[in-house]
Symmetry: C2
Subunit: 110 residues, 2 copies
């Protein structure tokens, strides 16, 4: 089907999955790393940085923006993107929580 049955999972589980999908593609990983590296608005540089066509980058940026992880501001003919640090922190908290499950001292069993 290609369609996840989100209704049988908790909101938290769906949220974790959604955020994880955001950087479940190397292009988006690369975009986010670049924005962090620059640590300010990036206007028009992104397509040249990543080796993908402009419409493809635009699409990845749209996804990241819809999730709120980045924001874009129009500056003349160009659009400047940057990390939304508040949202990033919120996501980090949720995913870190998930990654830190299982504090037991038990070794891997079996």
């Amino acid at each position: 089907m290609g369609l996840a049955k989100t209704e049988i999972f908790t909101d938290k589980q769906n949220e974790i999955a959604l955020f994880a999908k955001a950087f479940g593609h190397p292009a988006r990983v690369s975009i986010l790393q670049y924005l962090f590296k620059i640590d300010s608005c990036v206007c028009g540089d992104i397509v040249n940085e990543i080796g993908l066509a402009q419409p493809t980058i635009s699409q990845h940026l749209k996804e990241l923006k819809q999730l709120g992880l980045i924001q874009g501001n129009v500056e003349g003919t160009s659009v400047c993107y940057c990390i939304n640090k508040e949202k990033w922190a919120a996501m980090k908290a949720i995913l870190t929580d998930f990654l830190n499950q299982g504090h037991s001292i038990k070794p891997t069993c079996c």
Copy 2:
């Protein structure tokens, strides 16, 4: 195309994306959480815990196993799964590193 151009990204970027995809679906999030909660081998319980058909669960388990995040051991007619804590720790290190980017005190710009 539906085919990620992995060759233009670094191994690290591809690795982050691969791990992120592992829990980019709520069913796999749910499976992993369940295995952590039990904190031992789970033999045959998983299909009843998650509301998906047996072949679907089997497929998700296979993906997690291929990544090394879980391991399955045959016990009679059933298979017992558990978290591979070493691999989990390795993944956690990689993803935590990614999530902790951007320590600058600058607020979100723009």
